[in-house]
Amino acid sequence: MMEWIVPHIPSREALESKMVLIPLFPFVGFLINGLFGRTFSKPFAGFVGTVAALSSFVVALMCVCHVHDTELGRAGLHVSYAKWLVTSDFSCSFGLYIDKLSSVMILVVTGIGTLIHLYSMGYMAHDRSVWRFFAYLNLFLFMMILLVLGDNILMTFVGWEGVGLCSYLLIGFWYEESKNAAAGMKAFVVNRIGDLGFLMGIFTLIAVFGTVNYVTAPVKGEGGSVTPQTTLDAKTKAVVVPQNPGLLDYTEALRLTYIKDEHSELPEKAELPKFATGGEKNTVSIPMSIPKGLGNSLAGLITLTCICLFIGATGKSAQIPLFVWLPDAMAGPTPVSALIHAATMVTSGIYMVCRLHSLFAFSETALLLICGVGAATALFAALIGLTQLDIKKVLAYSTVSQLGYMFIGLGAGAFSLGIFHVLTHAFFKALLFLGAGSVIHAMSNEQDMRKMGGLKGKLPWTFATMLIGSLALAGVPGTSGWFSKDNILATVLGRYNDTHNNLYLVFYIMGIVAAFCTAFYTFRLVFLTFFGENRSSEEVKHHIHESPWTMVLPLVVLAFLALAGGFLFGGMFIEEKSGGEAFEHLAIRNVPFHEEHSLHEAHTPNLILTGIVALLGIGLAFFRYGKGGNIPDPEKSNNLVYKASFNKFYVDEIYDALIVFPFCVISELLHWGMDIILIDGLVCGAAELVRNGSSLLKRIQTGLMNTYAFAILSGTVAFLIYLLIKVQ
């Protein structure tokens, strides 16, 4: 398929040795810029960063081509380097693993990453410390690559926290404004709350499966090493797992053993079978070294694990209740918003769920929860997005909302569609952010849409590309966004048809309403920004100009992808049958439907509905804002709902009042009450007691010789009297 992009694909062995370059290029770029960047000229620093990203992209592309187009590559490219952490409960090494799933992500990360590096060269050209910016960006790429390519969940966690760090650094890039630093800190802390869930998930995984590796270690073979697969022996019908199985090996083995039809369930611990292995260890069983207090039902434990991991995902992917950091994260430079807070980092939650999708597939409860949280987030964020005035805030809430859609997809069991929406969303949302950046750049850093307007003539390229992006975001049929979103909603409806669980219907309706809102606020943005009169000050007006080519080129490329992405890649992700068979191109197995026709029956009504709401939303936006002059002013509005939406439904304030404020007060109280008064009071009180007691005793020391003589005398007398009584 991709021969035309990369004419010559190196051999598997060569690729294995080159794979390390994917993370290494950005890392070296980070080191160069970080250590010596201070002495570089601004363009050169940008050049170093961009070249690092591009080189990484090229190597990644070669690997991906290999994985997709060759027979050997189907099992993925897997290289294990040095041991990292070896304990008695688990062990893991530094390993990179490209399979079909991660290949999608790695291309998004490095590809869009490269484009945004290029864009940043223009956008950040006048900044004081360009080198620092590019160092951070490269570090981010490095961490993101680790997250995506790590061959064990701990490596994923490394990347996970690493991108959180970069996000922190980049949000607070202009640290001289305290607000930005605060936003960065908020992002980090909220992410950490999610990470706590992730950590707990990892702990349970270790307790249940005794491993953190996704797959077993590669084995050297002809023409390169191969990762052994879990298979069903055709003759004996026995499940054969590789030695030292990874998580995915275990889940596959469990699926092959127990999930024979759609009514099967996982067994209790007592019935756990032993799986045959190919090597000298004949059988292997899931260790289940479960600590007391977690129960010992495998299904229950897996649900618990999934929920913990999903809590991690809500942090990073900005879902209810942890989405509050993402809008604030817009304090960072716009390319950062595009790369980290739209295209890549925030989707890592979805990636993580997909990575372990075979585990999540076992737990209906967890999937339902994911679906529900996704739907709620999609709707909630869309409602907030309706009234925002800051161009980046609108996009930020739309990102939260779109991430919600992805989780709806995952929760509906359509993992492939979740990833598909990640891909298309990366195209159009990066495009929109970069376009917004271009607008902001042109407007001398003005972000308030009330002061924009009428820019379509002055910024033709920006306008055209952003329009395409908006169409995709609004889900106009034919655009990439439509392909993914429509299919996700169809799956939810299909799920309802299949299970007759009313919750799915509720989620579906929420999704449709959110889709309507999305279309409305997207075009509200377009109309307010590009149509009507220009409402900026004269000085700003004077400076308005189209951006340089470094900024326009990425816009054009992304616009093309946003428009045509659905046609180009849709086949890889969209499910034709309802059987949940593994996608050849993605190595993902969606949760199968009970009834073959459930999904089919959902497609047509859903297609009509989504098309209608998208057009309705755009139409309403046109009627309200399309003619210009109708400038929103929330301060003057008396509509309570409108006000609540503009103020983000006071979520931040509620969190402040419920969590932050009590935490501060309790800490302060404990500091004074417990530490200083109680504990130190006791300690110092004891000391005081001794001191006061001895100052009483001190009186005895008169310094008068006679007193001492008297003491001796009375002592003697007492002793004698004692003797007198004692010795009869």
């Binding site: 010789m705 003589a709 008297f710």
Partner: protein, 126 residues
């Protein structure tokens, strides 16, 4: 020096002049001396009281020496009955030394502080 009594003083008597009497007398004198040490604030008097106490002890030694008077130093008995008296002699020697040194300290102290009252001797307390 000294003169030797050619007769046994006690043997003919009995009555009050016995060991118990001597010991009680010694106790009373010792107590009076101790009283002086404790109650008096004048260092001179205190030193004199000390001499009283030492004398009381001497009396005890002499009494017991009298009790052991029949003990003779010989080849199979190394201890002599006079040992009590000898010890009393040593005590007298020590008392003399003590009085000398004590009084010398007193003089030095008086020269520096113009007082011999124990109520003024509180340097160590500060």
């Amino acid at each position: 020096m000294g003169f030797d009594l050619p007769f046994n003083v006690i043997a003919d008597g009995g009555g009050l002049m016995n060991l118990k009497g001597c010991l009680i007398l010694a106790g009373v004198i010792f107590s009076i001396g101790a009283w002086g040490v404790v109650a008096r604030r004048n260092v001179l008097t205190v030193l004199i009281s000390l001499e009283l106490m030492l004398n009381a002890v001497n009396l005890v030694f002499a009494s017991f020496a009298r009790m052991h008077a029949n003990m003779t130093q010989s080849a199979n008995n190394a201890t002599a009955g006079e040992n009590g008296q000898i010890f009393a002699l040593f005590i007298i020697a020590v008392a003399a030394a003590e009085a000398a040194v004590g009084l010398a300290i007193l003089i030095t102290y008086f020269r520096n502080k113009e007082t011999v009252d124990t109520r003024d001797m509180k340097e160590l307390k500060q």
